[in-house]
Amino acid sequence: MLNEIYIKIKSCLDNISLIRVVVASFLSGTNITLDELQDIKTAVSEAVTNCIEHGYENDESKYIEVEMKLAEVDQMIYYWVKVVDKGIGIEDIELATTPTYTNKPELEHAGMGFTIMETFMDEVQIDSAVGEGTTVTMTKKLKTIKS
């Protein structure tokens, strides 16, 4: 394991930009390309936004756990991230991950959060139980070879 980090953040909107800064800092020691970094920041931003807006329905008394790891396999660097909330959970994951589907159209949501995660990351796993919360785990193989 090259590096790993675990943080627990308050479920508030200000922390979405904070987590992007954390992602950028965490990956700063790699030779990651700007495009790869942007993709990862966007995917993690989407996952944390979902926790706040959907999982916790903007209840700022709740917390989100974010765990990130960097691992080297055959001289390739892999980024792994897990975003966990203990909110209301997702009743129908297939529906929630349907491109352009949103249960909050009045808030101008594009319904693209999961689609972006699935497009920008190599692997996305969603585990959720109603009333218990949601865990999103994502992996991306970085194009760079370890410097």
Binding site: D14, R20, D35, S45, T100, H109, M112
Partner: protein
């Protein structure tokens, strides 16, 4: 964010220079809608050149402003989107066509 209004051309130009996520959208939406309704321009231009980050909330934000402009018979243009923003918008277009 900065804006200019050209009365002669009835053109509202808005330059965004912040990261666009669900948090910043809340404020930007209120301000920009206020400008659009205040000036009722014939053309509204949204310049995204200085936007360093945008996620799916930004897609909804841009579409929402376009819908408002359409309702007011205002031509709405997005200009200078960087490659990351373009990638998101293209992904949305593709998803919508496939939906």
């Amino acid at each position: 964010m900065t804006y200019t209004y050209d009365d002669n051309r009835s053109k509202l130009s808005i330059v965004l220079d912040e990261e666009i996520d669900v948090n910043s959208c809340k404020t930007l939406r209120t301000i920009i809608d206020g400008y659009i309704m205040r000036y009722s321009p014939k053309v509204c231009e949204l310049d995204l050149e200085k936007v360093s980050f945008m996620d799916s909330s930004g897609i909804g934000f841009v579409l929402g402003r376009k819908n408002l402009a359409d309702m007011l018979n205002c031509k709405f243009n997005v200009v200078n989107a960087n490659s990351n923003v373009k990638k998101l918008m293209q992904l949305y277009d593709k998803a919508r066509r496939g939906a």
